[in-house]
Structure formats: C-alpha cells, structure tokens
C-alpha cells in the first residue's frame, strides 16, 4: 500500500463531485423542514429523480433536459406527500417512509429497460483564467455546472432565510404555525410550495447521480444518500451554510475510503464501505449531545399537523 499515491488535488476535486448530490438534497430538505414539515421521503424522491432524469436524457439525448426532468420527477413525487400530509393530515413520518418505499419500487419499475445504457455526457463549462490557475484551478474550477449550482443554492437558501420577507414567512410558518396563521399567512400553501421545492432539489440530486456521478442507471443506486441528506440537515442545525461543511466532510470520507480501497490498503473493504454511515452516526450523536445550542434552532412546529381553528 502506498498512501502517497493519493493526489490531494484530485481528492478535493472528486470530494466536491461526490458531495454535490447530498448537498442538493439536503438544501431542499432544509427548506422543507424550515417550513415545519419533516419529509422522510428524500431517498424515494432522489431515486425517482435519478430514473426520470436518466430516461429523459437518454430519450432526448440531452443531459440538460435530463437534469430538468429529474427535478420535475422529484417534484411530482413530492406532490403525493404534500397531498397526503397537508390536505389529508396524515402522519408525516409514516408518509415519508411510504414515499421512500413507493419511490424505490416505482423507480425500478420505470428503469426496467434502462440498465446498462450509458447516458450522453454532460459537458463541463470552460471557465477561462480561473481554471488555468495551477493547483486551485484543477481543484475548484474544472467542475460541471451542477457542482456550482449546489453551492449557489446553499448561498441562495441562506439569503432567503436571512434577508428576504419570503424566507421570514417560511420560518414563521415552521416556527409557530398557529401564530403564522393568526398573522394571516397561509400555512398549508407555504408548506406545499416548500415540499415541491424540496422535491425538485431531491430529484435533481438523484439526477446528478445517474447522469454525472455514476453515470448509469442501477436499481437502488441512491444507496442511502437520501437518508444521509436528512442527517446532514440535523448536523447543520438548520443553518444552510453549515450544510456545505457537513456535505464536504461526508464526501471526504466517501472519497477517502474509495481511494484507500483502490490502493489496496490492508483494511477490509466492508469496514471501509461502512465508514460513511458510521461517520454520519457519530456526527449525529455529537450534534445532539451538544443540546441547548443546536436544539433551539429546530423549527418549533416540525412534523406537526396544522389544523385551522376558527
């Protein structure tokens, strides 16, 4: 084994790529949770996004249309969740689980005849000057658009909640649904929109996996990424910018273990493959045991059913 054969520049570059998917999904879920809704169906929406994007990309031979299709697919699936939890007032935890089970099944059904196909390649934008900077250029400025989009959307989410009235309304609805209602904000409508936004992000995250990261369609290819995105939201303490840190730490572990496997380190493959999940658990424990501080930023009405009182 030879650890020095791992190039740190490539490591960081591939870390950004491998984190993009969970970063997107987590950003979407953060917006949903800020509005007071807990959607555990991220995994289901991601995999539907992955297959919808893949089908559209292959059929229309356009990766860009594919990415749009994946976002639409995720949003469509999230509409079921919105209907069931917001209008039919079903339990959010159970409905989220149902969404995941349903999504996984539907995706393998849709993807039945799409295994083993290579999708068209998503071209990378050429960023002049910046991409030519020796080390940094290769590390940061030679990625595809989705990588940059994921970072921009985190910043946009931060801006939304910190600087805009719309963000304030979403936060109010999530923090105290009764007060928000009394102030005249439409709780259900706000939440439905948040769920749809979250669904499109999760779908896009899935599409990124099947179109760029892997790129291929295989059954169950999200492999828990949706759940890791959910964990990431808890890790961030519902603060958008911290999502980037969390996602990159997680992506770092994923890439590192892949690299260690590749150079044939004396650790078992199984042990290395389980590290990302164990790291997630440890991160969750560290965050939750530091109570008080992080605990207070949990949206007050998270997971609660809203009922209009006259």
């Amino acid at each position: 084994m030879d650890i020095s054969s791992i190039d740190p520049v490539i490591l960081i570059a591939s870390l950004m790529v491998s984190s993009t998917s969970i970063l997107l999904a987590a950003t979407g879920e953060l917006i949903v949770e800020k509005s007071g809704v807990l959607n555990l169906g991220v995994e289901g929406m991601m995999i539907i996004g992955a297959i919808c994007g893949f089908i559209i990309c292959v059929e229309f031979k356009s990766p860009f249309l594919g990415l749009i299709g994946s976002a639409l697919g995720g949003a469509l699936l999230s509409m079921i969740f919105a209907a069931v939890t917001q209008f039919l007032r079903a339990n959010q935890v159970a409905s989220g689980l149902a969404l995941t089970l349903f999504g996984l099944g539907l995706a393998s059904l849709l993807g039945h005849s799409y295994t083993g196909i290579k999708p068209p390649y998503l071209p990378k934008p050429n960023i002049p000057l910046l991409s030519d900077i020796p080390i940094v250029g290769k590390m940061l400025f030679q990625h595809d658009v989705v990588v940059y989009f994921s970072i921009v959307s985190v910043v946009a989410a931060w801006f939304l909640f910190q600087k805009t009235k719309l963000g304030l309304i979403v936060k109010a609805v999530g923090e105290n649904q009764e007060s928000a209602h009394a102030l005249g904000y439409n709780v259900i409508r706000t939440r439905v929109i948040a769920i749809l936004v979250g669904g499109s992000f999760a779908g896009l995250a899935g599409g990124y996996l099947s179109l760029v990261r892997v790129p291929q369609w295989t059954e169950g290819m999200t492999a828990g990424a949706g759940w890791i995105a959910l964990a990431l939201v808890v890790f961030s303490g519902w603060k958008p910018l911290r999502l980037i840190i969390g996602a990159y730490i997680f992506g770092g572990f994923t890439i590192l273990q892949l690299n260690l496997q590749a150079i044939g380190i004396e650790l078992s493959v199984a042990l290395l493959s389980m590290t990302p999940y164990i790291v997630t658990i440890i991160a969750l424990v560290l965050i939750s045991s530091g109570k008080g501080r992080v605990g207070t930023s949990t949206p007050g009405s998270l997971g609660k059913v809203f009922m209009k009182v006259r």
Binding site: L88, R89, A98, L101, G105, S108, L109, A270, M274, I281
Partner: protein, 358 residues
Amino acid sequence: MIEIVPRTQKSNLISATIPIMAVILTMLFGGILFWSLGKNPFETIRMIFWDPLMNETFADYARPQILVKAAPLILIAIGLSFGFRANIWNIGAEGQFIMGAILSGSLGLYMYPQESSILFPLMIILGIFGGILWASIPGLLRAYFNTNEILVSLMLVYVAEQIMAAASIGFLRNPDGSGFPGSRNLSQYPSAANLEIIAGTGIHWGVATSIIAVLFFYILLHKHKFGFQVSISGISPKAARLSGINPKFLIIWCLGISGGLAGLAGMFELTGPAGQINIDFNVGYGFTAIIVAFLGRLNPIGIFFAGILMALTYVGGELTQFMLNLPAAAIQVFQGMLLFFLLSMDLLVNYKIKLKRS
C-alpha cells in the same frame, strides 16, 4: 365546499374498515398500473390475490409459502408497532434482522457438525440478542444523547449489510464451498435446522413463534401496564410524563422489543427458508414490515392478518413475474400504494367530511 370537521369521538368501526377500503383502492389503482404495463388487470389481480390460495396448480406450493413469508413480517411488525404507538421510530429492522441471523448463524457454524439438542434453542437466544444489540445502539443514543433514532437505525442497516457481505465472503464462508460466497447451509444441519413442524404446510418454528407472539403481545398491549404506557405516550407525551412514565425506559424497551423480534425473525429465516448467510440474504422484510404494522393498525391481531395479506402479495407477485412476466418492482409499487391509501384514509378516523353549501 368540503369541510373537514374533527370527530368528538374516534370511530372504531371506521378504523377497522379502513384497511379493507385501502386494499380495494390499491387493487383499483394497481389494476390501472398493470394495465398501463400492458397486462390484463383482472388476470393480474386475480393471480396476486386469488391464485396462490385457490388455483389447483399453484396452491399446493403457494399456500405454505404464504405462511413462510408471513412469519417474519408478523414478528417484525409486532415489535415495530409498539414503538410506532409511542412515536419511537425504529426503521432499521432490516439491519436487526441481519444481525440476529449473523449472531445465531455464527454459533451454528462454529458448532458444525456436532449434533446437540440445545444448539437450536441457544441459537434462538443469540438471534434475539443480535437484534437487541443492534437496536440498542439507536435506543441508547436516543435515550441518553437525544440522537434521532430514525436516522441512526437506518444507517445501521447499511452497516449490517456490509457485515453480512464480509461474513459471506470472509469469516463465515463455507470452507467446502470452493470459494463461492455464502456460508454452509444451516437448514441441512439437523441440530440447527428450522424444519417444518407439520410436513407440507410450511409451518416451521418461526410460524409457530409468530402466532405465539401475536397472542403474547396482544395481552401485553391490552392487559398490561406497559401496553398502556406505550399507548398513552403516543397520544399525549405530556400526560405520560406527568403520570410518571420514564421516557428513557420506554425508548429502550420499545427498541429492544422490536430489535429482539427482528433478530428472532432473522434467525428463523436463516436456519429455514434462506439456509445460508449470503450477500442476498435479506430481501426487505424489515422494510415491508413497516407497511404491515400500519396495515394492521399497530395491533397484534390486525398485524397477523396484515402479514398474511402482504405475504399473499409477495407470493402472488412471484406468480405474476413467472406467469405474466411482470417486473418484480411492480409488486413493490403495489405495496407502497397500499400504505399511502391507508395513511390517507386515516383522516376518516378522527375527522368527518362535511359538504357545506357556500
């Protein structure tokens, strides 16, 4: 205008009929799904729900299979239902199922080929222990560090799957298997085999245990203080705290029970229908059991029937794959739909829908 008005009293009649209505709706929409896949919807639905029980050609094989598949679903779902009642969400039963199988299997494989009458009971205990061990991680973390048990229990499924993979190509691999993955076949090792109690019926020790579990946990839920504590904690956590129920105690017990039963189911599956530890050992019983728990209204008796019904869709689903060339995933979609319809209609238990002229 449609208006949704809360009921003054929860309707038990509606609560009991909802699963039936959900099944009917699922058949309807499932039929549309099968039709869109180019299959005859009536034939497909009949093949899923009727042929495994009544068709002369298939029933002899299918009837025992229904019990074999229902047993793990019922065992796991009963365990999960206690937690779900108290808003404690163990969704990692799949991992606990695997760990129960690995722990009990390790003992069986270690003892091979010695025959002993206490081996099987010891393996049962180890199976339960393996499940409890795996479930106690989210349990203790939730109780003492307030860590989200949903995420931790789920992450541990992936960890368990890796251990399973490592076991089947490494430390539990059959030394006489000429390098193929997978352990020795425990169902062919008399002291460790989970055999049919009555030949040809499919009733193995796991099936018998699941029936005992239904009765035992029904009594625990309805006649024992613990069942009451679980139910009250779900309805009103505040009332539960004021009446002196220790939430930590409840979390640990609920996860312990669900983990133990999942581990037990894993042990019976390993020593019977599956036979060996292998990469494809787990087939998703731990996740389907979540649907079973809800379909059975989180009640052991209901879960029994829900488990049989879900097993029927499994066996019938296999039949449609085989006879009609329907993709396996279609049944998964079908099961997912069922859960959605069920959750959606729960509205009717607590609310009335009124038509109002505006």
